[in-house]
């Protein structure tokens, strides 16, 4: 177990290291110095030079890179180029919105995918199963931001049940915060749920035809018993393998959904920093999202091996 985890951890660190070089390189091939961009074309050369020195942008690129990495590792993320405010607390506040959003989205997705997938597999020869399968097919095609806007039209504009946008901070009201996350997480989770439902369906269909289920019934289990005792775990294996992909989809989908519902999360922060050319902030957030994607995949990989003894943690 530990050897596999250790090996994968090394790969993850190497991947993230390569990713950091890539991100740094891409964001620093910008023509013109960042200071010039920040101060605008009207700025005097003297003030541009002063800002360049203040931001450490006169140092060699390697030094700048190492300085940035040091900051990332020690969580001293420095200050924003634009507002001059420290980045860490700002990012922390944004995470308070984005992390619950992604988790709630996952919850919604699973709550849809598992029953829908199982049902459409069990009833695959009946109309109800075909309808469910078709519904998931359509669900996959609806982008989360389109669904978000449709939900706003129906639930917020027509029915006036929930706010159309904005976020009530957790510190003000936990209920309010949850309420403002309902529509976003439903829009986020519904689509991922539809994708996942198809995998659940295929997995359950596979299990239903498995020989070991017949063996279980031959020794005296009823079909339902056999499905619970043997079916669930076996069906979970292929579903878990795509869960990593689903989570990446949720994380990146959150960026767009936050824009739809004007939630002050990591995605909104990323978009505003792009608009402001606040490159250091862009750099940090892109690394943060990439890290989340890579680490999520690592966790799913480990989970997969815990469930399935055939793969084993040693290989």
């Amino acid at each position: 177990m530990s050897r596999f985890v250790l090996r994968r951890l090394v790969t993850v660190v190497l991947t993230l290291w390569a990713a950091s070089i890539l991100v740094f390189a891409v964001l620093n091939i910008l023509p013109g110095t960042p200071a010039q961009v920040i101060l605008g074309t009207q700025a005097t050369p003297a003030s541009v030079r002063a800002l360049t020195i203040k931001l450490g942008l006169n140092q060699p690129l390697v030094w700048q890179y190492l300085h940035w990495i040091q900051g990332l590792v020690t969580l001293h993320l420095g200050n924003s180029y634009i507002s001059g405010q420290p980045i860490a607390p700002e990012l922390g506040a944004a995470l308070e919105v984005t992390a619950p959003l992604v988790l709630l989205g996952l919850l919604v997705g699973l709550l849809i995918a598992v029953p829908a997938g199982i049902l459409s597999a069990l009833r695959h020869q009946r109309t109800s199963g075909a309808v469910l399968a078709a519904a998931t097919q359509v669900g996959i095609a609806i982008p989360n931001f389109v669904l978000g806007i449709l939900l706003i039209i129906v639930v917020a504009v027509d029915l006036r049940w929930l706010p159309a946008s904005g976020f009530t901070p957790w510190s003000t009201s936990v209920g309010g915060a949850l309420q403002s996350l309902i529509l976003p997480s439903v829009s986020l989770g519904l689509v991922e749920g539809a994708i996942l439902a198809r995998f659940v369906r295929t997995a359950v269909l596979g299990v239903l035809r498995a020989d070991f289920l017949r063996t279980a019934r031959a020794k005296g289990m009823r079909t339902g018993q056999a499905l619970i005792r043997h079916g669930i775990r076996n069906a979970a294996v292929p579903v878990v393998t795509v869960l990593g992909l689903e989570l990446s989809g949720l994380i990146i989908g959150a960026v767009v959904i936050e824009a739809v519902f004007t939630l002050p999360g990591v995605g909104s922060l990323l978009l505003s920093s792009v608009a402001n050319r606040d490159l250091i902030l862009v750099q940090d957030i892109v690394m943060l999202v990439a890290t989340a994607v890579v680490v999520t995949n690592l966790l799913v990989d480990i989970l997969y091996r815990v469930i399935d003894p055939r793969i084993g943690l040693r290989s």
Binding site: A141, V256, V282
Partner: protein, 294 residues
């Protein structure tokens, strides 16, 4: 059961229409997807030459009209005809997503072939690079590039294309490895055919179906990414009509004219559905073993 259908089929000589009907019944997904894609492509081509009004033409007196006889789908806040904008929005969407798939295929397919045929360090390096790119989802890559180069159709296309390279590289690699492991390739090697000739004669024709399927499926993903980028204002810049941009704009008028948001949303969903269904259907047609058995 297969023998029975085959037996019945050989009893009659089916006409073309009949054959199409049979194909459609066997695989409604491919037919439906193909039809939707065809319609969207036709609209995109027509929109280059003709739209009911100019997509950028402003009619200040006719702002925010609902659907009506003069403007079938209504107008936006500047009085621009929504149908015309919807039609001409198909162009950047299709061009951008197709461009991204071309970039991804142009790099990913050779990389996958190389990795499969060379093995060893080269293969390892290519797949590690694919893993690296994989940790940047298309949208994240696009946002990063836009931060540097500014929002434009080309930036969006290139970014999504690069992010999609691993999808092609992996499919190409695994399909090629399967072909390279077959007995006929072994035989070809045994009588001294060069590796390049083996790739050309045996591998490429055999993996083509996989690549076609992957292209179609990937198109549904890139359409989505392109639409999302233009919705976020990071794609083709206004005032050019884009589906995502129209959606973003319509969101400001949800209380006055909610239908305005429905049209571009529908267009995006249909386009994604079309490519997705086409890819799924083609996969079933080209490789029955991949089909989840019913």
């Amino acid at each position: 059961m297969t023998t029975l259908t085959a037996g019945r089929a050989s009893a009659e000589v089916p006409g073309r229409a009949h054959r199409l009907w049979r194909l459609a019944r066997r695989n409604p997904s491919a037919l439906l997807g193909g039809l939707v894609v065809l319609v969207i492509v036709v609209v995109a081509v027509v929109a280059v030459f003709w739209t009911p009004y100019g997509p950028l033409a402003v009619f200040p007196g006719q702002a925010l009209l609902g659907p009506g006889p003069h403007h079938l789908l209504g107008t936006d806040q500047y009085g621009r005809d929504l149908l015309s904008r919807l039609m001409s929005g198909a162009d950047p969407t299709l061009l951008s997503s197709a461009g991204a798939v071309l970039i991804a295929g142009g790099i990913g397919i050779p990389a996958g072939l190389l990795s499969a045929s060379r093995g060893g360090m080269v293969s390892e390096l290519i797949m590690r690079l694919a893993d690296l790119i994989y940790s940047f989802p298309a949208l994240l890559a696009a946002i990063t590039l836009v931060a540097v180069f500014g929002a434009s159709t080309i930036t969006a296309t290139v970014a999504i294309g690069i992010a999609s390279i691993p999808a092609f590289a992996r499919v190409t690699r695994s399909a090629s490895l399967t072909v390279l492991g077959t007995d006929y390739v072994l035989a070809a090697r045994a009588y001294g055919r060069s590796p390049l000739a083996i790739l050309r004669r045996h591998v490429v024709p055999n993996i083509l179906p996989f690549i076609i399927v992957q292209s179609s499926l990937l198109l549904s993903v890139t359409v989505l990414a392109v639409a999302a980028l233009s919705y976020l204002g990071l794609g083709t810049p206004p005032p050019a009509a884009t589906w995502g941009g129209m959606l973003e704009n319509a969101q400001n008028y949800l209380y006055q004219d909610p239908l305005m948001a429905v049209w571009p949303g529908l267009a995006i969903a249909l386009c994604v559905l079309g490519f997705n269904a086409l890819g799924d259907g083609l996969r079933d047609l080209l490789d029955p073993t991949l089909r989840p058995r019913e």
